[in-house]
């Protein structure tokens, strides 16, 4: 009998590691089917215009051009999107941003494809365009979508608690500030890619880099007018996602192409520039905060107004707003609050899902205002946060009930006792010549799952194979976060098997079961819960069958171990394959459907906002600390030390947990300091990785991660989602550190060297 160490809580090596580091793992971009055509789109070069004429005659008969398609070739509704289906696969009457696809070309190779795209002539009648969300809300603003009651307002709503207007006048100290948050580009390394074909039986098969294979299938059926049961979507490992592949990217065009390729396979793979142009971004935001407290340090009133620019199409601009509003009061008890939110259409690129999903924008504002207010009443910024932080059972200022595990106070306390915090004054005073130092912190939270109105369901499937090994049918795409290896870890724990005893089937609408999107910090939480139960059910069946076969009297006398069943009283070992052979195929397959719990209380939010996902039930919490040093001569900001303390429940795998913490913090540093996505009247100015600056290995420090391991009863083995909480606090922590160094807050991010230099130059000579 082998000794058995529980895999839960251990740094089990990722099962996807060997395939990825040997170059053998195939991503969507790596498929080159025989005889395949390349597809690509001619995109709009106007931000808002009527399409007057599409002239494809210059290219139709070019050698190597297989087909040239327009909206007239689409049999279905030609609209994709969730929850609002407003985005055309190919623009029909008009274009709404510079990047809208208008014509789709199928060619024998990439070179011919690009030549043809360049030669197509589209005649437009330009329309007045609007690029600022506040301007888009004005009465006479140009309309993006006709026949909408709310005109350019995609979604708006209010959270009202108490009477914040009257309460503000009761405060001893009040701070007000306006924040401008930028677009953020996901910049996953694998740009949008896929291959598609229609087989002999009329099945449209798409292999795509997608976080949402199941939702894609439904959207494609509606948009292209192809039966949903004749569409198969497969999601191999993604080369990054972060929310940017939460929905249709190339799938609509690919599907359309495959329906017109005469049975030949079709490939699409966006260039980096096309990815920047056509993919969704983190919503830019204008966030106004007014926060007041009493002299005893008690927060008393909050007014917050959030305006998000969702660009030309809805994408997930509604739900992102709902989550921004939900997280706008952060981790604090505030009795009086007014939180107003607006998600607005403009002729800019499309805002959509991005790790954090609205929370980074509001926490950037709130956590800076918290620091300013603490200073105003001469409180230590950490003590001020501790004084107001929620405990389990409390409501946040946004009226969100903390019904489940809530460990923000232990997170704050870990920072409070940490040397990076306790020795901060000494560190600041040792600043080298021409450098300014400061230490900042920020606290926050992140909801797990879909909120109250969209069922967060995962259907796990696991099979005992005839040879005694196991197969997990993953329902949720793995974009790099490691839910697939974690699935193995969970099943290994329940079934007592080594990781080698499992094989994985990637999400595939033909083979695996619908389990929702790879999003919302839910992948391991929801699918893991389902898988744990499915594996447990399978284990019971195996033990029962062993008893049926006369291998023992009682199920509890057996121990499952790698490839074997050990009968403890007799010491006999039975190969699992032997038990499997005595089970019918359907008995060897175990399925379990899990539905995540929702927050049914309080029901006092505007129904539209509630439908968009407000509020959540399970939250992760964190407090981050940044030590920053500013170069007085260049304005450059260096993050010298960084501490991330997280409550994401029990840690299932310390290595994967740290991967999320480190990667999220660094993506947050990019958002804070360098990632400056620039547009000029809808025209993209940062089109590549030379002008849109991502953090490199030289720009960031090692991240110190501390896990505050609460037990979240609803999560598998006590865990809750960690994917998003990790990105939310880098911007405010760094901003607060910079403000302590230079004595002034910067309300427009990213916090560029240019902005710093302007502030430093205005400083009086010492």
């Amino acid at each position: 009998m082998t000794t058995y160490a529980s895999p839960i809580g251990s740094s089990l090596k990722r099962v996807d590691g060997p395939g990825k580091i040997s170059g053998l793992e195939k991503y969507a971009a790596d498929y080159y089917p025989d005889n395949c055509l390349w597809a690509g789109a001619k995109r709009s070069d106007h931000p808002h215009a009527l399409i007057k004429k599409i002239d494809i005659s210059p290219v139709r008969n070019l050698p190597g051009i297989f087909a040239v398609l327009t909206h007239e070739d689409i049999k279905g509704a030609n609209r994709v999107g969730v929850p609002e289906m407003d985005q055309p696969v190919l623009a029909d009457c008009k274009v709404r941003y510079k990047g809208d696809p208008v014509v789709l070309v199928l060619a024998e190779n990439k070179t011919l494809l690009q030549e043809a795209i360049d030669k197509i002539i589209i005649k437009y009648e330009p329309l007045p365009a609007v690029f600022d969300p506040e301007a888009a809300l004005a009465e006479n603003a140009p309309l993006l979508h006709e026949n909408r009651n709310n005109k350019n307002l995609l979604l708006g709503g209010k959270v009202i608690r108490g009477n914040s207007i009257a309460a503000m006048s009761e405060c001893d100290a009040v701070v007000e500030a306006d924040f401008q948050l930028p677009w953020q580009e996901h910049a996953y390394l694998e740009t949008e890619a896929g291959v598609a074909r229609v087989d002999e039986e009329g099945i449209l098969e798409i292999i795509a880099s997608t976080q949402t294979p199941w939702r894609d299938r439904n959207e494609l059926a509606y948009a292209l007018g192809w039966p949903v049961d004749k569409i198969r979507v497969i999601a191999p490992y993604l080369g990054g996602g972060f929310g940017g592949k939460d929905g249709i990217t190339v799938q609509g065009l690919l599907g359309l192409a495959a329906l017109h390729s005469g049975g030949r396979p079709v490939k699409m793979w966006n260039s980096r520039e096309e990815s920047f142009l056509s993919s969704t971004k983190r919503h830019p935001g204008q966030v106004h905060y007014e926060l007041g407290c009493k002299n005893d340090g008690t927060l008393h009133a909050l007014n917050c107004r959030i305006v998000l620019d969702t660009g030309a199409y809805a994408s997930l601009g509604g739900p992102v707003l709902a989550l921004a509003m939900e997280h706008a009061a952060g981790v604090y008890r505030i009795p009086h609050a007014l939180i107003e939110g607006f998600s607005v259409y403009t002729n800019n690129p499309v805002g959509g899902a991005f790790r954090g999903f609205g929370a980074p924008q509001v926490l950037a504002g709130l956590e800076q205002v918290m620091d300013i207010l603490a200073d105003k009443i001469a409180w230590d910024p950490l003590a001020f946060r501790l004084k107001n932080a929620v405990m389990r059972g409390d409501e946040t200022g946004a009226g969100v009930w903390m019904s489940n595990s809530t460990a923000i106070i232990p997170c704050l306390e870990k920072v409070q006792e940490h040397p990076l915090w306790t020795s901060r004054q000494a560190w600041v005073s040792q600043s080298p010549p021409f450098k300014q130092r400061g230490v900042g912190l920020a606290a926050g939270l992140q909801g797990t799952g879909y909120g109250p109105m969209v069922a967060d369901i995962a259907n796990a499937k696991i099979e005992l194979l005839s040879d005694g090994r196991f197969r997990i049918y993953s329902g949720v795409a793995d974009m790099g976060q490691g839910n697939n290896p974690t699935n193995v870890q969970i099943a290994a724990e329940v079934l007592g098997q080594a990781a080698e005893c499992f094989e994985l089937i990637q999400p595939d609408t033909l083979q695996t079961l619908p389990s929702g999107s790879s999003a919302a910090s839910r992948t391991t939480y929801s699918y893991g819960n389902a898988l744990k139960a499915a594996a447990l059910q399978l284990k019971e069946r195996i033990l029962t069958r062993a008893c049926n076969m006369g291998m023992g009297l009682y199920a509890e006398d057996f121990l499952l171990s790698s490839g074997r069943l050990n009968h403890l009283p007799s010491g006999r070992e039975i190969p699992l394959g032997l038990v499997a052979a005595s089970m019918r195929p359907e008995e060897r397959v175990s399925i379990y459907s899990y539905t995540a719990p929702v927050n049914r209380y309080p029901d006092k939010i505007n129904p539209d906002i509630r439908a968009a996902g407000f509020p959540h039930r399970v939250f992760a919490f964190a407090c981050h600390l940044a030590r920053v040093q500013i170069d007085e001569l260049t304005g450059e900001v260096e993050v010298c030390d960084y501490l991330a303390v997280t409550d994401a429940g029990k840690v299932l795998n310390p290595q994967l947990y740290e991967q999320q913490v480190q990667g999220g913090a660094v993506q947050g540093m990019g958002y804070a300091l360098w990632e400056d996505f620039k547009l000029d009247r809808g025209e993209l100015m940062t089109r590549n990785l030379a002008t849109y600056i991502l953090p490199t290995s030289m720009d960031v420090p090692d991240i110190l991660s501390i896990a505050v391991e609460t037990v979240e009863e609803s999560g598998p083995f006590g865990m809750k989602g960690i994917g998003e909480i990790v990105i939310n606090l880098a911007l405010p922590a760094i901003a607060n550190g910079i403000a302590r160094a230079v004595g002034q807050h910067i309300f427009k991010s990213p916090l560029t060297a240019e902005q710093l230099l302007l502030i430093l130059e205005k400083r009086p000579a010492e």
Partner: protein
Amino acid sequence: MKIVFELNGIKQEIDCLPDSRVVDLLREELGHTGTKEACGSGECGACTILVDGVSKLSCLMLAAQLQGRSITTIEGMSSGKKLHPIQQAFVDKGAVQCGFCSPGMLMATVDFLQRNPAPDRQQIRTALSGNLCRCTGYQKIIDAVESAAAEMRDEL
């Protein structure tokens, strides 16, 4: 034009357009999709290969430049079934998330450790600064390179 070069120790003779990019040649003609492309303009390092042992960006190289050269791609990094110590360290230290940058990172690391077998963390950071990763925050990649360097020194 016809070019002759060595790919992972095996002689290749192929007919191709002289101006086709090496990354396309590898991926589309030779089926070596381990070499990734993520920017196509020399900014991200995902397409890094070794040309006569020196790391080069295959998206910026033209096929004709391969004539008479010896190329190593990720597919040729390990010998047989045993992983190269750098690959093993990437798996062990958790340096892989989505994995799309990994082949380029590994190729750049092979070249770097040949030149500097005992680097400190800052030197590793500098050496890999031309290889972008969007998932890891680089820390575990640095850990892996540090660990692989130690392992490889021990083997000598």
